[in-house]
């Protein structure tokens, strides 16, 4: 069932002025919000529809969105906050940027519906530091929505009041982690909080908060327009709907595509023009740099949904960030770069992560420089295992995962480096 493209979050892609309110309205934008708030659709009904749709968080963890929305204390009186996570910085991920620049109003509408459902009046969209142009596009969309009476007090003449603001990051991968992001909104260093308490109890400014990814929010208007069952049927078991895939690296045409969940990987690869320069596929990281690498022959058997990537691929769908590596890729050098990234971006709060990421990187670097020892491979495994599960947030595990999976699948390349002081690809 891989027929349709750009059907949900990318509805406006390809139309003139895709980011404008006029274009968004031309595809039915804000109709759902209007119906919900004028007919006062009960929150329970909205949540039931989201649950039926099978929508799972698109930020990487895949947590069921309908369920998350029930965690917010409905009758809490006092401020509550809604937060959109557009701090996309996981290497290989660039989908939210395209929603921001081509269809910002759908994020706004999805957040407004979420706010109505959870009884929230104020929300923030946290936008990654390096995409300034998209931040400005989003700010313009907010202005347009305010002028049109779609944000602010008494929206469309109802008693629904909702204010949404953009918060711009300034260069810290860790702020993608939801509690670091909350700290950052508060004007602090982006250091993750201990959980519990979870954001639904203690979030932005200490108030109950819900945080979802950009693509998650942007999927909501479609679901409520066409029904949960419709969205569910676009995908496969346990993976309802469509998904944006960011395809980068060694392909002819790196791109984002929105397709039905469950598309066979070879078809997805073909959408990006296939492996570049007529070369052979060596490996794929299917969900962003923090998920295990998958060798080509296994990857070619996978379909692009949560279950297949786990069960067949031994990896994770993550944020749908497909990094393609051809036969010339030096896996030791690639791991060296990734390990440096996690070392550089560790916030430094937990000893196993702060020390461990530095240690991993130095050992991988030593091997890449031709000065490695055979014991280093066990050492890397050991250090990785000692980080996993011993830290405040998942960045520690994220640093260990590439190390463990690269060595597992490409061990001979590492051994060759150690024995010969250079890559076997140049032999």
């Amino acid at each position: 069932m891989s027929g349709s493209f750009n059907q949900v979050c990318f509805r406006t892609v390809g139309l003139p002025n895709p980011a404008s309110l006029k274009t968004y309205r031309s595809v039915g934008g804000y109709e759902v919000l209007k119906r919900i708030i004028t007919e006062k659709i009960p929150a329970a009904e909205i949540i039931a529809e989201i649950k039926l749709s099978g929508l799972r968080g698109r930020g990487g963890a895949g947590f069921p969105t309908g369920l998350k929305w029930t965690f917010m204390p409905r009758n809490y009186d006092g401020e509550k906050y809604l937060v959109c996570n557009s701090d996309e910085g996981e290497p290989g991920t660039f989908k939210d940027r395209d929603i921001l620049r081509y269809n910002p109003h759908q994020i706004i509408e999805g957040m407004a519906i979420g706010a109505y459902t959870m009884g929230v009046k104020t929300a923030y969209n946290y936008i990654h530091g390096e995409i300034w142009a998209e931040y400005e596009i989003f700010e313009r969309a907010l202005d347009e929505a305010r002028v049109a009476g779609l944000l602010g007090d008494n929206i469309l003449g109802t008693d629904f009041t909702f204010n949404l603001y953009a918060h711009h990051g300034y260069g810290a991968y860790i702020c993608g982690e939801e509690t670091a992001l909350i700290e950052s909104i508060e004007g602090k260093k982006g250091q993750p909080r201990f959980k519990p308490p979870f954001p639904a109890t203690y979030g932005v400014f200490g108030k109950p908060s819900t945080i979802n990814n950009t693509e998650t929010f942007a999927s909501v208007p479609y679901i409520l327009q066409h029904g949960g069952q419709n969205f569910l049927d676009l995908g496969v078991a346990n993976s309802g709907g469509t998904k944006l895939f960011s395809i980068s690296g060694h392909v002819e045409k790196p791109c984002n595509v929105e397709v039905n969940m469950g598309m066979p990987f070879p078809e997805l690869l073909a959408l990006a023009g296939g492996v570049w320069k007529g070369r052979k596929l060596k490996a794929v990281i299917p969900g962003g740099s923090s998920v295990p690498v998958v060798p080509a022959d296994i990857m070619m058997q996978c379909t692009m949904d949560y279950d297949s990537i786990v069960k067949v691929g031994g990896s994770m769908l993550g944020a749908g960030s497909v990094i393609v590596m051809d036969e010339t890729t030096d896996m030791v050098k690639t791991l060296d770069r990734l390990s440096y990234f996690y070392y550089e971006e560790s916030c430094g709060q937990c000893t196993p992560c702060r020390e461990g990421t530095g240690w991993l990187w130095r050992v991988v670097r030593r091997i890449a420089e031709g000065k490695g020892r055979m014991e280093d491979l066990d050492l890397l495994t050991d250090v990785s295992n000692n980080i996993s599960g011993r830290t405040i947030c998942a960045l520690g595990d994220a640093a260990a995962t590439p190390v463990l999976s690269f060595i597992k699948h490409f061990r001979p390349e590492f051994e060759y480096y150690i024995e010969h002081g250079r890559s076997m690809l140049k032999a």
């Binding site: 290497p91 004007g187 400014f205 690296g249 590596m325 690639t334």
Partner: protein
């Protein structure tokens, strides 16, 4: 000293947060000050802190935590090349080497005429446009080739 224009911009940011949460605007206030001066001196950071009514150290902590703030003077144009995985696979290293050669500096350094600072950066969430770089944090150039880099340098010179 923060200029009148900077204060107007900071006030707009402050309006996004509850009145008793002025600290929440520190990231944008620092960014606004940096755009004005090119980098963040101790004085600029103290001015931002004073305006928001927070301790200097709270503003300094933020300025040193996030990668895009500069705590020392940089060239007129700071060029940050992403060298993370998706960009690396499309020869970001070649772009860095070309820039190093053309500018006569290594990554992390500033040209003698104070015009360019060269940096390596982490994933910018734009991997489909690899290889790519940022000019002064806010302007992205994608699908780079050595030829395109040359044209860009001409334009900036």
């Amino acid at each position: 000293m923060l200029s009148k224009q900077a204060i107007a911009k900071i006030d707009r940011e402050l309006s996004k947060y509850p009145a008793d949460q002025r600290r929440a605007a520190v990231m944008s206030a620092l960014r606004i000050a940096q755009v004005e001066h090119g980098w963040l001196s101790k004085e600029a950071i103290a001015d931002v802190a004073a305006y928001l009514g927070i301790p200097d150290i709270a503003a300094l902590e933020v300025a040193s935590f996030y990668n895009m703030y500069e705590l020392e003077a940089v060239g007129k144009y700071k060029l940050t090349v992403c060298t993370n995985i998706s960009c690396m696979l499309r020869d970001a290293e070649g772009i860095v080497e070309h820039l190093e050669h053309k500018l006569g500096v290594h990554c992390g350094e500033t040209t003698a005429d104070g015009k360019f600072t060269l940096r390596e950066g982490e994933c910018m969430g734009a991997c489909g446009g690899a290889p790519l770089l940022l000019i002064n944090n806010h302007e992205m150039r994608e699908f780079l080739t050595p030829e395109k880099v040359d044209v860009m340098l001409e334009e900036l010179n």
